[in-house]
Symmetry: C2
Subunit: 241 residues, 2 copies
């Protein structure tokens, strides 16, 4: 797989974008750096003439953008999902700056990875971040760290291109086949169901506890085989209930 | 001088910007990275509500932007001027990519440096580039290297911040006091006048030859003392005419 198609496979996922101009500007930012896969989760206005105008010569990317009705749909089979945030938050997923994060994303070869960007005004929700394995923050002025959405995409796309064409990427660590988004969500669902069944978890307020579990597994970067093992254990344990 | 005021001293110079939205977005891009000095050379519309809207919380930068009627006015006393272009051009000024260029600009401490950005559609003119000592290009997709103006500012401002706060900047090479923009222009004017007086240069078409001379001196990164020496020589030689 050559370098160009590696960039083409990186997904830029925009969640609940309000301003169609930002969608167009994002497409342009992506194309200038060689990216091509744009996913739009419940955009407020799309398609829209303002998106077309700001895309300039990147209308092909808008034309083939995937419009999704849920984050999960946009993240299908991604082996690594990065939450892009203004600053690393308390949540304590494994955190990288933009430069390190680009290298981390490119350490997965021939498998889809995704960068998840939140709403213009409020960023990513806690639930959205919980679907990610790592957090990437763009170093910025602490007094005003709020980059425009398309500008944040531009910086990340630029760092991805720089990482691929300029920097020496460290040889991929020898890994097993990584678990993908679907594997992980199945594991969490399986686990949550068992935790509720077993009265360990209050089904009326499962959130905090499930968040902690997600973070724990996110740091582990599970392999497919490990998921199978874990789910095998759960299945076995579940038989008692 | 601390790191913050170093970023504040870096001038972002926009030449003949057509869309006021790009001016506002530039101010925002600058502020997110800690830059503050914006110079606008003959903007088509400024001030403008669209600029205010896109600036978001960076209206302070717009409020103190310097509006100039010539490139020369915006470059007064700058010791290093970088032309930002989509790709290094034939002109063969010393060329850097965005990352190297940011380090080069920061190697001048406590002295103003400037980044010159051209028109949205056509970039910098040859004459504008000739006022610069170095060219910086942002690595991009060769099939579509045309970043939005404010996005290009965002990438450069990001690299300046990264260079200052993250990278180990190589110790400034021991240099004499660098010549500034005014020193250089005086030298070129002095030289051109003498070249014409001496019939070496056709006053009706001085451009090409003067371009070559500018490039030659640009590569040299002259010091103030060297300018004095050169002009001393010119003065001495000029007495014969």
């Amino acid at each position: 797989m050559n370098a160009f198609s590696r960039l083409e496979q990186i997904r830029i996922v925009l969640s609940h974008t309000s301003h169609p101009g930002n969608i167009g500007a994002t497409a342009r930012a992506m194309k200038t750096m060689g990216l091509g896969a744009l996913y739009l989760v419940n955009p407020k206005h799309f398609p829209d003439p303002e998106a077309d105008a700001r895309a300039s010569h990147a209308s092909d990317i808008l034309a083939r953008a995937e419009v999704c009705t849920s984050i999960d749909a946009a993240l299908q089979h991604a082996v690594l999902v990065a939450a892009i945030t203004a600053r690393p938050r308390e949540l304590s997923l494994e955190a990288f700056d933009a430069r390190q994060g680009a290298k981390e994303l490119l350490s997965y070869v021939n498998q889809p990875v995704a960068l998840l960007f939140g709403r213009e005004n409020s960023g990513l929700t806690t639930e959205e971040v919980s679907k990610c394995q790592i957090v990437i923050h763009i170093p910025a002025n602490p007094e005003y760290p709020s980059l425009n959405l398309a500008s944040a995409v531009q910086v990340m796309a630029y760092e991805l291109r720089m990482a691929l064409f300029r920097d020496d990427i460290e040889e991929s660590i020898v890994r097993g086949i990584p678990a993908d988004f679907n594997d992980l969500e199945s594991l969490y669902a399986h686990l949550q169901q068992l935790m509720i069944t077993s009265d360990f978890l209050d089904p009326d307020k499962p959130k905090l506890l499930m968040q902690r579990i997600r973070r724990l597994f996110a740091r582990a970067r599970l392999e497919k085989e490990e998921i199978q093992i874990l789910r095998g254990i759960l299945t076995a344990l579940g038989k008692r209930w």
